[in-house]
């Protein structure tokens, strides 16, 4: 066995990818049943007993082209006004290699004759003609038919690759195919023409050929071949080689579509197509955008698999049918599911990468598809987070409601962002992309919180993320660690046993958290202190004030399951954190269930203390806010607890740092603690920020460090 490297068959442009599929299929079906193909160094390799010379000789002497015919198209060579020379030449051919073509053409001619040889294709009867073709034409033709159209209960539908049934209005594929064949071979004898061998070497092995000039340029181009995509697809020299056209059309036969419907549903059947994903149509303004509309031009994408293990064609064709999914109805809903599903198929089947192509649907010749990035399928663990059952069912419910007439625009926008983000995650599996998804999930919940009554009517429960792997996969940062610490803090109202927990999210929107369940509630709306209009610092301070109030009124205690390092708090105090990101992450982390918060993200070891400028002031405030009855203080220094004095925080958050510091100093002394500080001058802005920072839970060790520093006591003995 030798491995042949087909340098002319590369993943880009699309025509060359299709050519690769064609070569593998044709060699396997007609020449060497044992042949296997794989991708390496961006070109197709064939593992075969045959030599390059033998393969080339086969294509020149024996290759029997698939009968690609479209008797339903005007211009297909079957109608009065059409160019018919190629059809006639092939239908009359005696050559063995054109036998399948001849049989198919004759069957089609007979079929049209039975219909009284119509002069043109009647729009009204086109579907019936398509049905007749699929019913009657020989088996060899079916691959082409299934690649060109699907008949469903709702009439014919056209898959993305081949325009409207092998026709883009100006350009008829099958008739062109036959013309190219006649250019390559003498239809009577079937023997190759003089230039054909050189052209073949160019098509398969990318070897320069001088024969191209003999063929007039332009006839391969669909009418006027200009337009934005033309340069990105075929380059002009490739277009001139008839082999490229013939083989790329042969390659398109691998993309057989099918009619599908969900089991047991009475909904109409849809068109299912391999590896095609349609992004949401642009606009997104109205519900109508979500519905299928044949006239709507929407962006489609094909994700074409690249595989590295030598694979026979039959198996490959089966993987293409495994890769089918519905295109059309509810496109955006399915896009995420599709992306996740196709990534998992890739892993299961060892498809190492997918080459993405984007194209405008209904733009005729989709060969002019734009190559986009590659997707590597290896690690899809992150995307799988979004496919976890609990989240998946919430997402599908949420996305289903997006199309409703009364759906608030803010929710649609958030939903749209989420979809884009998830698809991007499937395309680029990175922790940054996962972070983006995580943020957009928070935005979705925020949007829902603002439209609570709509959400309740639509039966959308508040979102909760229960998967413990979220924090494992997100990129660690000060912002994330702070947000996690904040999210894991909660106010326990009342006694320890019977008390009610009020975690952070009960202050973001009107929900109640009981055990594992999170529900919308009509309880005291004043608990929701977070407002989009205010900044992060103001929001945190309002939160602190509310908690202080609740604690004073009902008794209780602020508790937390995880905490932050002094280093991260310093970063916040120093304005080195991104407040916008932090605020979003607070919203997202609030979605995490207590179980999911259990494994906080890694943080660097404690290396340095607090920044000088804010240090003393922060220490004062935090001891008064968080330092209540810390065990080390209670046993070593003071028998009294540091009673909560809301006024301290109130003054600080109002920008009055000095007054707050005074009150805090008095408070500490009242608890028999003797801070080394006397008076402090604090800028109003810093005072507010410092007040906000006291909300960030610190570990007992950090608190001890602060206490030692501030009180100059040695708490260790």
């Amino acid at each position: 066995m030798s491995d042949l490297r087909l340098t002319g068959c590369q993943p880009q442009p699309l025509a060359h990818y299709l050519k690769a599929l064609a070569v593998l299929r044709i060699v396997s079906e007609q020449f060497d049943a044992e042949v296997a193909g794989y991708w390496q160094d961006d070109c197709l390799h064939l593992r075969t007993r045959k030599t390059r010379t033998e393969i080339e000789a086969f294509f020149l002497e024996h290759f029997a082209p698939s009968p690609i015919i479209s008797p339903w198209n005007g211009g297909s060579g079957f109608y009065e006004k059409d160019r018919k020379e190629a059809v006639e030449a092939l239908a009359d051919s005696k050559a063995a290699r054109f036998a399948p073509y001849r049989l198919a053409l004759r069957a089609a001619i007979r079929l049209l004759k039975d219909l009284g040889s119509p002069q043109q294709v009647d729009k009204k009867t086109k579907d019936e003609l398509l049905e007749r073709c699929r019913n009657r034409l020989p088996d060899e033709t079916l691959s082409w038919l299934d690649a060109a159209f699907v008949l469903t209960e709702d009439g014919s539908k056209y898959p993305p690759l081949l325009g409207s049934g092998g026709n883009d209005g100006r350009f008829e594929f099958s008739n062109n195919h036959m013309h190219r064949l006649v250019e390559l071979f003498d239809p009577q004898t079937g023997s190759a023409r003089t230039a054909t061998a050189a052209l073949l070497s160019q098509a398969l092995f990318d070897e320069p050929s001088h024969s191209l000039a003999k063929i007039p340029a332009g006839q391969f181009l669909p009418g006027n071949a200009g337009g934005p995509n033309s340069s990105a697809g075929f380059d002009s020299s490739a277009l001139l080689n008839p082999w490229d056209f013939v083989l790329s059309l042969e390659g398109a036969l691998t993309f057989a579509s099918a009619g599908v419907k969900r089991l047991g549903s009475a909904a109409s059947a849809g068109l299912s197509y391999p590896f095609a994903v349609r992004s949401s149509p642009s606009g997104f303004g109205s519900a109508a955008d979500w519905r299928e509309s044949d006239s709507a031009r929407s962006r489609g994408e094909l994700w074409l698999p690249l595989w590295t293990r030598p694979t026979g064609y039959a198996e490959l064709a089966k993987v293409f049918s495994e890769g089918r999914a519905r295109v059309g109805a509810r496109p955006a809903n399915d896009a995420i599911d599709f992306a996740v599903a196709v990534a998992s198929l890739g892993v299961d089947r060892g498809l190492s990468e997918f080459q993405r192509y984007g194209f405008e649907e209904r733009n005729g010749l989709s060969y002019f598809a734009t190559p986009l990035t590659r997707i590597t399928t290896g690690a899809s663990a992150r995307a799988q987070l979004l496919a976890a059952p609990a989240l998946d069912s919430w997402l599908s419910g949420f996305r289903r409601r997006l199309s409703g007439k009364n759906t608030p625009a803010s929710i649609r926008r958030a939903g749209r962002r989420l979809e884009r983000s998830v698809i991007a995650l499937c395309q680029r599996d990175s922790s940054q992309q996962l972070l983006d998804c995580f943020r957009t999930l928070g935005q979705c919940q925020t949007a829902l919180g603002r439209a609570q009554s709509w959400a309740e009517d639509a039966r959308i429960e508040p979102l909760q993320l229960t998967d413990e792997r979220w924090l494992e996969h997100l990129p660690s940062s000060s912002e994330l660690r702070i947000a996690v610490a904040l999210a894991s803090s909660y106010l326990r109202l009342g006694s320890r046993d019977t008390g009610r927990r009020m975690p952070l999210r009960t202050h973001l929107h009107q929900v109640e958290v009981r055990g594992r369940s999170v529900r919308w509630t009509a309880d005291d709306p004043r608990n929701v202190v977070w407002s989009e209009a205010s900044g992060l610092v103001a929001n945190l301070n309002r939160l602190a004030a509310r908690r202080n109030l609740l604690e004073k009124r009902h008794g209780g205690l602020l508790e937390t399951t995880s905490s932050c390092s002094l280093e991260d708090v310093s970063a916040f105090l120093d304005d080195r954190t991104d407040d916008h990101l932090l605020e979003q992450l607070i919203h997202s982390c609030a979605l995490l269930s207590s179980a999911a918060l259990r494994k906080p993200p890694n943080s660097k070891a404690q290396t340095s203390g607090l920044p000088v400028e804010a240090g003393g002031f922060f220490s004062l405030l935090v001891l008064c806010a968080q330092g209540r009855t810390p065990a080390f203080l209670a046993t070593r220094v003071s028998e009294q607890e540091i009673a909560l004095e809301p006024a301290i925080h109130r003054l600080a958050s109002a920008g009055n740092g000095s007054a707050a510091a005074d009150r805090a100093l008095r408070r500490l002394r009242g608890s028999s603690l003797a801070p080394l500080l006397r008076r402090l001058h604090v800028e109003p802005g810093l005072a507010e920020r410092t007040a906000a920072a006291t909300l960030i839970p610190l570990s007992p060790a950090s608190l001890r460090l602060i206490a030692e520093d501030l009180l100059r006591i040695d708490t260790d003995n």
Binding site: R134, N135, R136, D146, E153, S265, T311, R326, G350, R459
Partner: protein
């Protein structure tokens, strides 16, 4: 014993000559005999006879019909004939009769590939099963029904003129069976007097050079007295004078009601009035009901329970009038004395004429009502095409008798209809039962039935408050009334804006399974075809006597007392967990035993018997996997009384159904079994094609792992990024040594999942080779799959025979 005697024992009548020929000659392709001449008895009788006298006669008779009502009648006949043939069959071998129709699917036959059985079903049920996408059943058993319906099976399609595309599909399946080959013969008989010739002539089922084998009435039939009297039954026909349909229901009722009464009073017996639309039938019924109370109304917009009550009067005796729609055209076996019908398309008329003087008992009389077709935009032709009515009118013009003999002379050929044809490529695609990436399945409905079901089904319930409580019982078939989608949404719109009796709930409700609650049907999300919608009883729209009329808030609709019927356990043959601890070794022995007995009974060739036997030995080897053993043992770790009898053995079944937490989700032992077998086959140089076949049978024995091995989206995955996994089996997992009944000690094994990836020797490529091989192919695979699964079910149902019990003691 001669066939005439046999037939007479079964039916009480001597057979007609054609019935006798059917039993003595090979099955024809076409049985072309007019209705009323005992086709059902002919087929069932001949099949029973052949089962008794010909070892190669197909074990199963799949009797396929277009409508439920025909299924019920045919099953009744078949049951009676089987019961009367009991004494001819060996003990217990008398064929059983099973009904397959929507809402009532008998699956008891699926576990007995060796038994004689008659399956009477609708085309929806039987054809969908033949396409490996059986309606109304577990998807994991599709291949079982597929295998049994394509092997050892005689298909009889009756009333084919009403079947539409199912005829083309059955023709293709017949042709494809010949092309692709079956293990046991299968054959199709199409029965119809008026089958459009072209329908059978499909791409893979061309007319053979010798022509189609057709069995029709011979001269000796025609001279038979009974046949002659039926064929020459007189049915005088004429236009009803003085009436012309206008399309206004009340006017039209007014036009004809006194003629109906006159004819009825004059002739007595059953007078059948067939109207083209439900509304017209209702109007006429209302008008006639003023004059007589021996009258009932039959159409398709009834709840089944009410329709049954209405249809009762058809079978009563004495003078009565039944007003009906085309719902009565086919099916119900009645014989009216007088028929008054609207002008209708010719095939419909022929069906209607058949409801009259069926047995030639006395002269029948037909009056047809002309329609005003000339007026533009007239509704008088609805729901038909004006052109079809004009054709019919033309044919009726000079007709004086509409008996079977006269109708046969009418030159009428139905217009050719282009219907989707199932191609070889489609069938091969359908052999794989996995759904596509988004969980959707290949759509087979277009090959099963012509018309798309665009009806909504309503049911009426009473409840307190503004929404039905979620605990309210789900609807049953008997209380569902079909309404066309347009009529349903029109009704809901009127209901919403109705001012009569203000207040109350003004909409219908749909069940939202995801939310587990009922939600109102709103204007912006109207009813969709196929939905089942709950209406409050106060919303009206229906009347048990008249059926659906669409008037909102008319009168309270009486609720039907539903009884909670215990649905037929669809997994009846798949015993979940046996009642006692059963060791793996014993279970394998049980299944090998049942497999041997089945392959012998079926007379399979040695290579297939060998493959099945091997598969039986290995099918549950994957249960030795730690994940499976833990599943059985961990839940009882702290329960001494539930412990297994020994700690040394590997177990196949446990005595409990307790859950073991923390194990891999979606674990499939049969995948582990198949991988172990492949390792064994590789080490022991077992021929590749045998190895593949056995692997396919092992993996497929629950219908969940077949042509492709795929992971499940949310299954637990190994931590190593590159480590392959699928269905709870991880690459590199180990299986301990096992003791097999015949192969002895095998293993230990290491699971090699690289076969799930593309490449030479991959699972997918091996399975495709089987499917595409001329020696195997989809139909043979189907029967082999069904056989192993039947053996497994049987082995599980009767663990430890006498033989193995003695061994143990």
């Amino acid at each position: 014993m001669s066939y005439p005697n046999f037939f007479e024992t079964l039916t009480g009548n001597a057979p007609f000559p054609y019935q006798e020929r059917l039993a003595s000659e090979p099955w024809p392709e076409l049985l072309d005999v007019p209705t009323g001449l005992g086709k059902t008895a002919a087929i069932v009788g001949a099949w029973l006879w052949k089962r008794l006298h010909d070892d190669n006669a197909p074990r199963r008779l799949a009797y396929c019909l277009p409508m439920r009502v025909l299924v019920e009648q045919t099953a009744e006949v078949a049951r009676e004939l089987c019961a009367r043939s009991e004494r001819y069959f060996e003990h217990g071998a008398v064929p059983s009769v099973h009904v397959l129709m929507g809402g009532d699917v008998d699956e008891a036959w699926e576990g007995a590939p060796d038994a004689s059985a008659i399956l009477v079903g609708t085309q929806d049920m039987l054809i969908s099963r033949a396409l490996n996408r059986g309606y109304g059943m577990s998807r994991f058993k599709w291949p079982v029904h597929f295998g049994l319906l394509h092997n050892d099976c005689l298909w009889a399609l009756d009333e084919t003129q009403l079947m539409g595309v199912a005829v083309e599909t059955s023709a293709q399946l017949e042709g494809l069976r010949r092309r692709l080959g079956t293990l046991k013969p299968a054959k199709t008989v199409w029965m119809s007097a008026t089958l459009a010739a072209g329908q059978l002539e499909t791409v893979d089922h061309p007319i053979p050079d010798s022509g189609r084998q057709r069995l029709t009435l011979s001269d000796s039939d025609r001279t038979n007295e009974v046949v002659r009297s039926r064929l020459s039954a007189r049915k005088t026909i004429a236009r009803l004078e003085g009436a012309r349909l206008t399309g206004h229901d009340k006017t039209d009722a007014e036009q004809v009601f006194d003629s109906v009464l006159d004819l009825h009073n004059e002739r007595g017996g059953l007078t059948l009035v067939v109207a083209n639309t439900v509304a017209r039938a209702q109007a006429l019924f209302d008008r006639l009901a003023h004059e007589t109370d021996r009258i009932s109304l039959v159409h398709s917009r009834f709840r089944p329970v009410d329709r049954l009550a209405a249809e009762q009067s058809l079978f009563e005796t004495g003078d009565r009038i039944v007003v009906a729609t085309q719902a009565i055209e086919a099916g119900v076996d009645i014989s009216a004395r007088t028929l008054i019908t609207d002008l209708a398309p010719w095939p419909s008329l022929v069906q209607r004429f058949g409801r009259l003087n069926r047995y030639g008992e006395r002269e029948g009389l037909i009056r047809w009502i002309d329609a005003d077709l000339e007026k533009k935009n007239s509704k008088s032709s609805l729901p038909y095409d004006t052109a079809d009515l004009e054709t019919a009118r033309h044919l009726l013009r000079d007709l004086q008798d509409a008996g079977p003999g006269s109708l046969a002379q009418i030159p009428y050929s139905p217009p050719a209809v282009v219907r989707p044809v199932l191609r070889r490529r489609d069938l091969l695609d359908l052999f794989d039962t996995s759904s596509d990436l988004l969980g959707e399945d290949l759509d087979v409905s277009r090959w099963v039935r012509d018309e798309r079901d665009t009806d909504v089904q309503f049911y009426w319930r009473s409840f307190e408050g503004s929404e039905p409580p979620s605990g309210i019982e789900r609807p049953q078939r008997t209380e569902l009334c079909r309404v066309s989608i347009g009529a349903a949404n029109g009704f809901l719109n009127r209901l919403r804006s109705s001012k009569k009796k203000p207040g109350g709930v003004k909409t219908a409700f749909r069940w939202n399974a995801l939310e587990g609650a009922y939600e109102p049907v709103r204007r912006e999300q109207p009813a969709r075809p196929g939905e089942l919608l709950l209406l409050p009883v106060e919303s009206g729209g229906y009347d048990p006597e008249r059926g659906w009329h669409g008037q909102p808030k008319s009168v309270r609709v009486p609720e039907i007392q539903t009884q909670q019927i215990v649905s037929r356990e669809s997994y009846a043959w798949e015993p979940q967990t046996a009642g006692a601890w059963l060791s793996l070794e014993e279970h394998l022995r049980d299944v090998v035993r049942e497999t041997v007995s089945l392959t012998e009974a079926l007379g399979l060739v040695p290579e297939h018997s060998e493959a099945l036997r091997r598969a039986a030995q290995w099918h549950d080897v994957g249960k030795a996997h730690d994940q499976f053993q833990r599943r059985l043992l961990e839940p009882v770790a702290d329960r001494p009384n539930l412990q297994p009898p020994s700690t040394e053995e590997l177990w196949a079944k446990s005595s409990h159904r307790r859950q073991a937490p923390g194990l891999r989700r979606y674990f499939r032992h049969e995948l582990a079994s198949a991988l172990a077998w492949l390792e064994h086959a590789d080490e022991n140089d077992i021929a590749a094609d045998l190895a593949s076949l056995v692997a396919f049978l092992i993996a497929g024995h629950h219908g969940k792992v077949r042509l492709s091995i795929r992971s499940v989206p949310d299954e637990d995955r190994p931590s190593g990024k590159e480590r392959l996994f699928a269905r709870g089996v991880w690459h590199g997992d180990r299986l301990p040594e096992c003791e097999l009944p015949e192969d002895g000690k095998v293993g230990p094994f290491t699971m090699d999942l690289s076969v799930m990836q593309l490449g030479r020797g991959s699972w997918l490529s091996r399975m495709l080779e089987l499917r595409d091989s001329a020696q195997i192919g989809p139909f043979r695979l189907g029967l082999l799959e069904a056989t192993l699964r039947a053996a497994d079910w049987r082995g599980s149902a009767s663990p430890g025979t006498a033989a193995s019990a003695t061994e143990r003691s």
